[in-house]
Amino acid sequence: MPDQAQLLPGTLDLLILRAVSLGPLHGYGILLRIAQISGQALMVEQGALYPGLFRLVRQGLLKTKWGVSDANRRAKFYELTSAGRKRLQDETDSWNRLAAAIATALSAQPGEL
């Protein structure tokens, strides 16, 4: 797949939280949602998603319950906890600050120094 960006370390958690914040999803659904909201630019290796999910559950940022998917299959659904919601907010803010700073740094011209 061309034009796909490599995921920076630590960004997977942020993406998962963001995807789940839009509504409860099962694992495969989270993958599709990440692809969709990133305009197909970010793809997560499928298996790598699960260790990340379990880590977030253990940290109390996500909660799970078993349900039935659109495809009428049994699936485990993930939802944000209130701690998860707060973490998403914090991580988003700090990501934006970092991105803006890097963008500024990269666009600096010799004359501006």
Binding site: G27, Y50, A71, R73
Partner: protein, 885 residues
């Protein structure tokens, strides 16, 4: 049950790992199915779709493991694996495991036992509202040698009037007894007279009814509150008790409530009655006053405010000049007698635990040395240091927990023994009052404590071997095989420290125990001034308070006491019987006051003495020797001249070399009547065995008989057989006369020696355990060192060294270490034994003979412990030694 089920689920998940795995696998498979659904919709066959989905997913096994780890179960599995491995190792060396577990069981068991006692007795809060804010207030007058005198009703009223800021409330009480009639046998009940703020002061929630109302102080009211035990015993716990009446001291009292059972711990009484304002004004000293401090006020602040108040009161009442107060927290006062003993024992069990740890660390070190090849192999196969250390820690914790469980059983046994043989009542110094010790039992906190101690010791001695092992060179060990030098040098240093510590701790404990032995034998050898064996004591109180009681007349009181005495004396088996106001050492109310000697007016010192009313025959019954003159006769009554007998202490202190006979003592107050001294008797230790006898004046009771008196009976046969005969003899004079506090004299003496006795018995046991542990430890270290040097010994023997020279060489090293340990122990003992000086009688806490004796004992034991393994090597065949590998 739900917690148990959850635990079981978790355990099985952990052990079988299937439930958790199943769910995880199911979820991953769902993912692949969903992906296959999508791919299938793209137009490929189901089979092909599933294959592709699986490929896209990536390494299934890898992600499954990773996910599993992310769920946080990894550490538990590692722990389980280490534990299984550790158990296998221990099973392979059962002697090592058994020795370590037993040693730890001794150390931990002793600590758990003592923790149970300390927590149950010293740390247990009283069952009242905010008990930590309660203080006891005494009068004191250092100028005339009075420390801690019970205040009077007037003192209490003065203090209450001052509205001191430090106190939320003040409470006054008086212990006493009352006669209950009209409900079965006449009975003497233990009573408490209290100010009417009683209920609120202690925060009492009565089981039935109410407590007193503060305004009920304003007039005399015959209201009574029952204790739970009395209510259950006499009224079978009838809840409709309120409003019923009972006859107390011949008056009708209305029952208004029942106290909770827990209150028994503070005041083990039967009935509570109120003070009224008139009574408060009349009540003489020797009452009890408690203060409730405001929150965040310290005892020191309260004492400071109190001394200002006393100065103000002294300006208004000249008789209070020179008086101050003493304030102490209630909780600490109650346990003042037993606390030093428990604290000394607390130190001792701590030492025993350290000794146990040192021994086990030594065992672990030797055991670890024999495993150095196994460890080197594991390291070369990629095990990290952390993993090796963790493995050692798991093993030592396993040993410690097994030791802890065995220790817990030991503690259960000890607590049981305590309940059976330990003291149940202890005296409260300077008060006519005994505290009933609360029952101790092993509960959840004690189990938690054991677990914590076990884990702490496990970590402590588990860390030593790996730290020492990593001091050496792993590679060398691997190459060298069994003869590696890994860690040996540093291991030796650790052992050196262990031997020194063991010698030192054993010495401290042996010194402490020897001091207790010497002190206790001195205490038992103290001559109390009378012969306690075969003496029975009992107390009689005439119902003088009741309206219309014949005993309001002093003559009638004397006559009836005389009749009681005559009847008891005529019982076969009774050698003699007499009456006394106070039974020596019984913690009865002391009566003490000033006197003057008529023949020596204007002396600088105000003489003061204990007053005792006694009947004729008292000195003979108690076998108190008559030194000069005569003792009282039946004729010394109100119709004859007033006479007294003084004791040797008074004669020596106030008459010196003069002959006191024929001199006169005068008591102040009222109309001073001179009383002629007719005799001098031997001194008696009345208040404590360890204190010096106080100056005492004996009065013939017939010249002013009191309401309450004790009878002392010397019997020729065992006392128990005579008790009912004595009761019947008294009842044949007055069927309604209660008899109470029946105790034998040896029993009374047992109570005042209980704290030193506990310290004496337990400290001896602990010192013995310590000595044995130290001997085992020193033996272990020496035999290990000797074993390491077997080859060297072989070489020396081959080159002509005599076995004796070898033994000498091996022992010199060990003995030097022991001597260093003993020297360190002497210093520690010298610094520490002063803390037990309050338990010691007749021996200094740094008694040189005891220090010398203990040093010799520990040195001998340590030398023997070195000699046994050393001798073994000295006898070895040189050829065998050379080939030993």
């Amino acid at each position: 049950m739900r917690i148990l089920a959850a635990l079981r689920a978790r355990w099985s998940a952990l052990v079988h790992r299937s439930a958790m795995r199943d769910e995880l696998e199911e979820e991953l498979r769902d993912h692949i199915e969903h992906r296959a659904d999508d791919l299938e919709r793209g137009g490929i066959s189901r089979l092909e779709a599933e294959r592709q989905a699986r490929i896209e997913f990536g390494g299934f096994e890898h992600y499954r493991e990773e996910s599993h780890r992310a769920q946080g179960w990894h550490w538990a599995q590692t722990l389980l694996r280490d534990t299984r491995f550790g158990l296998r190792i221990l099973k392979k060396s059962p002697v090592f495991a058994a020795a370590a577990v037993l040693t730890l069981a001794l150390g931990i068991g002793a600590n758990t036992s003592l923790f149970t006692l300390v927590r149950g007795i010293l740390m247990r809060p009283l069952p009242v509202r905010a008990p930590s804010r309660l203080v006891v207030i005494w009068d004191s007058n250092p100028g005339i040698g009075l420390t801690r005198v019970g205040p009077s009703g007037q003192d209490f009223l003065d203090w209450r009037e001052q509205k001191m800021h430090a106190f939320e409330d003040l409470f006054l009480f008086e212990h006493g007894t009352g006669t209950v009639t009209g409900n079965g046998d006449p009975e003497q009940v233990a009573g408490l007279r209290v100010t009417t703020n009683f209920g609120d002061f202690f925060g009492i929630a009565p089981v039935v009814g109410r407590t007193f109302l503060p305004q009920e102080e304003n007039a005399r009211r015959t209201l009574v509150i029952l204790s739970d035990r009395y209510w259950k015993r006499k009224y079978q716990g009838n809840p409709a008790i309120c409003g019923q009446s009972m006859t107390l001291n011949g008056e009708n009292y209305t029952i208004i409530g029942v106290l909770p059972a827990s209150f028994d711990e503070l005041f083990p009484i039967d009935v509570v009655v109120p003070f009224d304002i008139g009574w408060l004004h009349r009540a003489d000293s020797d009452l009890g006053v408690f203060g409730r401090l405001r929150p965040n006020v310290t005892v020191r602040q309260a004492a400071a405010e109190m001394s200002g108040t006393m100065a103000r009161i002294a300006r208004q009442r000249s008789d209070r000049k020179g008086f101050g107060t003493v304030l102490l927290p209630l909780g600490s006062v109650r346990m003042e007698y037993i606390r030093p003993a428990l604290m000394v024992l607390q130190c001792a069990v701590g030492f025993v635990l350290i000794l146990a740890c040192a021994n086990v660390a030594n065992l672990m070190l030797s055991h670890g040395m024999s495993r150095r090849q196994e460890i080197a192999v594991r390291i070369s196969l990629g095990a990290t240091r952390n993993q090796i250390v963790r493995q050692f820690l798991v093993e030592s914790s396993l040993l410690a927990i097994l030791g802890g469980v065995a220790g817990l059983l030991l503690a259960l046994g000890s607590v049981h023994l305590w309940a059976r043989f330990g003291p149940t009542q202890i005296p409260v110094p300077n008060s006519a009052y005994e505290v009933t010790l609360p029952q101790v039992h092993l509960g959840a906190s004690e189990i938690l404590f054991t677990l914590l101690v076990s884990l702490a010791t496990g970590i402590l001695f588990g860390l030593i071997p790996p730290l020492r092992l990593f001091g050496g060179n792993m590679q060398a060990a691997l190459k060298n095989g069994g003869r590696g030098t890994i860690g040996e040098v540093r291991g030796k240093r650790t052992r050196t420290v262990l031997v020194i510590v063991e010698g030192a701790l054993a010495l401290v404990l042996v010194v402490g125990a020897s001091l207790m032995i010497k002190s206790f034998s001195r205490l038992l050898a103290v001559n109390p001034g009378f012969e306690p064996n075969r003496v029975l004591t009992l107390r009689i109180k005439l119902s003088e308070d009741a309206a219309g009681s014949p005993y309001r007349d002093a003559g009638k009181r004397g006559a009836v006491f005389h009749d009681f005495l005559e009847r008891v004396r005529s019982i076969p088996g009774v050698q003699s019987a007499a009456l006394t106001q106070i039974v020596p050492l019984s913690q009865d109310d002391m009566d003490r006051g000033p006197f003057a000697i008529q023949e020596k007016p204007g002396s600088d010192v105000t003489p003061s003495a204990d007053y005792r009313d006694i009947s004729p025959g008292y000195f003979e019954t108690m076998r108190i020797p008559l030194l000069q003159g005569r003792s009282f006769a039946e004729s010394d009554d109100t119709k004859h001249p007033r006479v007294v007998v003084i004791d040797q202490t008074l004669a020596r202190e106030y008459f010196g070399t003069e002959n006191p006979l024929g001199k006169h003592v005068v008591l102040p107050g009222g109309s001073p009547v001179p009383r002629q001294v007719i005799g001098v008797v031997g001194a008696v230790r009345d208040s404590s065995l360890s204190g010096a006898p106080e100056a005492t004046i004996y009065f013939p009771f017939m010249q002013g008989p009191d309401q309450t008196i004790s009878m002392v009976v010397r019997t020729a046969v065992p006392q128990d057989t005579l008790l009912s005969a004595i009761r019947n003899a008294i009842w044949s004079v007055d069927r309604n006369q209660p008899i109470f506090e029946v105790r034998s004299m040896p029993e009374i003496m047992g109570n005042v020696t209980s704290a030193p006795r506990i310290a004496f018995i337990l400290l001896d046991i602990l010192a013995l355990v310590a000595l044995v542990l130290a001997a085992i430890g020193i033996y272990g270290v020496t035999s290990y060192n000797v074993g390491q040097r077997t080859q060297e010994v072989g070489v020396r023997l081959t080159f002509g060294a005599t076995p004796n020279a070898i033994v000498y060489m091996l022992m010199r090293q060990a003995t030097t270490l022991t001597l260093v340990g003993v020297a360190a122990g002497l210093l520690c003992a010298w610094l520490m034994t002063r803390f037990m000086s309050s338990l010691l009688y007749g021996v200094s806490s740094t008694d040189p003979a005891i220090f010398l004796g203990a040093t010799i004992l520990v040195t001998i034991v340590a030398t023997v412990a070195c000699y046994i393994p050393a001798r073994h090597v000295g006898r070895i065949n040189p050829l065998e030694a050379l080939h030993s590998e």
